[in-house]
Subunit: 239 residues, 2 copies
């Protein structure tokens, strides 16, 4: 009885540490993403360099979470909802690491874009999709902190907005490239940046799924909103 | 004593199942990748559709591996090298899932490319980078099966070849796009495909790192070959 009680308390302490680490990692990645957006919109290379170098801390946090999660599973042998909590935390850390990579990739591209002129309308478009992605990240981190499955579900269903925005931005940038081949190189990097924000939205919905799973013990009941038909892959190509 | 022996045997059986599942998943992903390359080079939309639909099986295998790994850690409480084996398997399954996603994305793009004319030189270039990536995947899966750290190290160091190939292909496709703006849309999709193969190489090196860690208990001794300066991000942009 006493041993069980000790294990329960020790597990609760481990879980609290894991949650704190994920919150910390989420905060880091949010900051990294915000900086990458600012760097892109203002073509600020110094800030872009900070975004790139910040990624090591994010990777380090993921390793730390992975280690603690594995130790927790091995020593506390959690079951049912407790085990789901630990697995959910592992999955979220994995998604956050990927989001950090995407922000870093935006930073790396900005570093190369110095001196390039970006049409004001494209700047607005990039800012728009980036803000949508950032909003999704913020909301899904909140849903994790509060274990709020309504908020998680809302993130999951709103991913379509980012996909639609990506399709429209893809077309717009393509138009610039067609009209002025001098903008092709810039356009390519902007397309890759836009794609990064679109993928970031997918990772936010994966986190939403993890939060749902932690609370409910299964995945979202319906099909995931189809991210694929509107990623700009089909539409801007077949015609 | 008897309980310990039982646990040891049970752990060995779990580990064998995990290894078999990873080998199976590796085989699937190799096939998926090979099909995506064929589909791209021959612009074979049917095959591309099969590549896309094959991804569900890969995702399913990853979930299965994750579940069994977690159960193994919770019930057998492995330590030291045994624990490293399970964590290594988890990491490799994660990387394979990402490789499957990249092959799927190539497939999705091929579906939209029907009827587009691809310059023969670009086809050769795409085939070359894809074959390099496929070779890295094959070699790293072999290194995992044989726990061969020399082979893993070789995969790790050879990633630079893919990066260099990507840079050269990036420039080539860019040239087509500049010369004939009618090829811009096709060019963009080819660039995304090429980028997928380049990233695939990064995931192969991550698997190599996981194999090294499983055997040696720590990461590669030297710095990872720098994948970033040659990803085509900087070179084709600053000039």
């Amino acid at each position: 009885m006493e041993i069980r009680e000790h294990t329960t308390k020790a597990f609760a302490a481990d879980l609290q540490s894991l949650n704190q680490l994920v919150a910390e990692m989420g905060g880091y990645v949010e900051k990294q993403l915000g900086d990458s957006i600012d760097a892109l919109v203002k073509l600020d290379r110094d800030r872009a360099r900070r975004v790139v170098s910040a990624d090591d801390a994010v990777d380090e946090l993921q390793r730390k979470i992975e280690e603690l999660a594995v130790t927790t599973i091995a020593t506390r042998q959690p079951m049912a909802v407790d085990l789901r909590e630990v697995i959910g935390v592992l999955r979220i850390a994995n998604e956050l690491e990927r989001i950090g990579d995407l922000a870093k990739n935006v930073g790396k591209r900005v570093i190369t874009l110095n001196g390039d002129y970006m049409p004001r309308k494209a700047v607005r478009g990039m800012k728009h999709i980036a803000d949508l992605a950032q909003g999704q990240l913020r909301n899904v981190l909140d849903s994790f902190a509060r274990r709020d499955i309504a908020a998680a579900t809302s993130v999951w269903t709103r991913d379509e907005e980012i996909d639609a925005m990506y399709t429209s931005l893809f077309r717009e940038i393509l138009t610039y490239m067609m009209e002025d081949p001098g903008t092709i190189t810039l356009g390519i990097h902007l397309l890759f940046c836009a794609k990064n924000f679109e993928r970031l939205g997918d990772h936010a919905t994966n986190i939403a799924e993890a939060v749902y799973y932690m609370v409910e013990g299964h995945s979202f009941p319906a099909e995931r909103p189809k991210a694929d038909t509107t990623t700009g892959i089909r539409l801007p190509i077949t015609h």
